[in-house]
Symmetry: C2
Subunit: 318 residues, 2 copies
């Protein structure tokens, strides 16, 4: 039986991780951006992300530095989305007989550039040999017990917000795939939010997740884990001028890039209405895009006053 | 410039990890089996290991269960060799469109079998898509500050010891590569020593490392990190009857399997002469194979009363 026959990677993950973890120190096992482990007066966070050449990055388009930066930013974003601060990184690489030293040095330069921004220390890893380039980064982090944010704590009435602009990474990818000129930086160098920003949001939000697989997929995760419904207002999805222009060039809707693309590494959070103004005084780079509803109202997108059923997120085995 | 042009993976690692880590909480960064991080009244250990199909495992020969077991045992062995106890595991997988659900379920069964033996909790990971099977496991562990063992603390006069028998994994591999019948279990199901055994040894030993790349390579690491020389007594290398028989079948020396093979996951440790009897009362599954010498005596193997220069360990890019 192939993975696509059971519905893709998310179904596979459900199968192999079916057993609940029974350990008093495990606060959160499978099912969030990071694992959360009791560790004295703080929680230890752990996340891991694997990137495969031509699936997650493309050396025709990206410099080795940009590949390294993306690997680090993707993992940092998982830590930040829990309200945490990244600490130590461990990198495994599968290289080929043809891999150049310059390529790996470039990737490490990129890793170090992002590591410096996010105050991450690269502590070790493993180097081995295969027939394609595969990189895995495991990142540790820490978070105050009182600040940790999950996907599972959204409440009916919460306002759904996103930081920054969405769809930029997919917009750049679409230009590249269609051989068009335009703005590529959001795709080539996606940036995680800073831990300090995630921490401020954590003081007011009920739930948080980062945008790895598109706004639609992330809000669906929040709904499933929090047992709530949600409405996304299609015309409120924040888009940059560059993303709108790129979408025009390739003849697609930029909102769809935001909903079903991914790797923008912005934060999606849900927050009680009466806390929004408090948050705004400390951090205001966010937009309101919808509302958390009772679970029996389901999860839908409101587009031209009509309910649209959101498509599923990106599936590697679709 | 290719990786082999600069001398292989170890040289590459030296290049990319050249900068010393400057963080008060990092006790040991690059250069041992695990990273060691200050964590309250204990040390946190972290190790990561990547396995690529047809390089580290072969589904023609191994069952998916055995692949999963090997991935877990390899990482557990790194934690045990520091005197530590493994705790939480994180698994990344790059799968292909043809990967069967049964294969992954089998691998997870194997992971869980070994996890149960070593009291490891599997907490999460990442699943993605590529053109070959790549698995990465990151394992956390903990160790008492007073018990942590490094490669770098061997002292002149220490006796070099190894647990169990060596060369079994390579012996099995040689049979398979030569299409010969014989004893394969040491290759198909290599087993890490238990944390309780590593802990006992830690109370008496000065330095410790596990056998990933062969006794020769491991003692060389101890010499380099401890700035000492060493003598390995060729005829004292402990071999099982099965390994001796397999070597006969393929017409090679079984001692060479022990010295230059690998993945036996036994422990190599150096211990002051006067502590050996104390250790023996608590744990005696070990053999004396040599002695730590002054650095100006170098590192050599004594074979038929002649000094032999040890070959380098296995190099994925050789």
């Amino acid at each position: 039986m192939k993975i696509k026959d059971i519905g893709g990677e998310f179904e596979l993950i459900k199968r192999i991780t079916g057993k609940a973890v029974n350990d008093k120190n495990v606060i959160k096992g499978i099912g969030d951006d990071c694992a959360v482990i009791y560790n004295g007066n703080k929680y230890l966070l752990v996340t891991t992300d694997m990137m495969v050449e031509n699936d997650h990055f493309n050396l025709k388009w990206q410099t080795p530095q940009q590949v390294g930066m993306k690997l680090m930013e993707a993992n940092v974003s998982d830590i930040v989305s829990m309200g945490g601060k990244p600490t130590y990184a461990f990198i495994s690489m599968s290289l080929t007989k043809e891999t150049s030293v310059e390529l790996i040095e470039g990737i490490y330069e990129g890793l170090h550039i992002s590591a410096k921004i996010h105050k991450v220390i690269i502590l070790g890893g493993d180097t081995t040999h295969g027939t394609e380039h595969v990189f895995n980064l495991t990142l540790l982090g820490e978070v105050d017990k009182s600040l940790v944010k999950y996907r599972s704590c959204a409440r009916e009435g919460d306002i759904i917000c996103v930081t920054g602009k969405l769809g930029g990474s997919t917009a750049g990818l679409k230009l590249l795939l269609n051989n068009k000129d335009g703005y590529l930086l959001d795709h080539l160098e996606p940036k995680s939010r800073l831990a300090s920003e995630g921490e401020i949001i954590s003081r007011y939000a009920n739930s948080m997740i980062d945008v790895s697989d598109g706004l639609g997929s992330e809000v669906r995760h929040i709904c499933e884990e929090s047992n709530v419904g949600a409405r996304i207002d299609y015309d409120k999805i924040p888009l940059s001028d560059e993303t709108i222009k790129s979408a025009e060039i390739v003849g697609e809707n930029p909102e769809d890039f935001a909903l079903y693309g991914g790797e923008d590494f912005e934060l999606v959070f849900t927050i009680p209405q009466n806390k929004i103004n408090f948050l705004k005084k400390e951090f205001n780079e966010f937009s309101i895009v919808g509302e958390i509803l009772d679970s029996n109202k389901g999860f839908f997108i409101l587009k031209n006053n009509k309910k649209v059923v959101p498509k599923s997120g990106y599936n590697h085995f679709g």
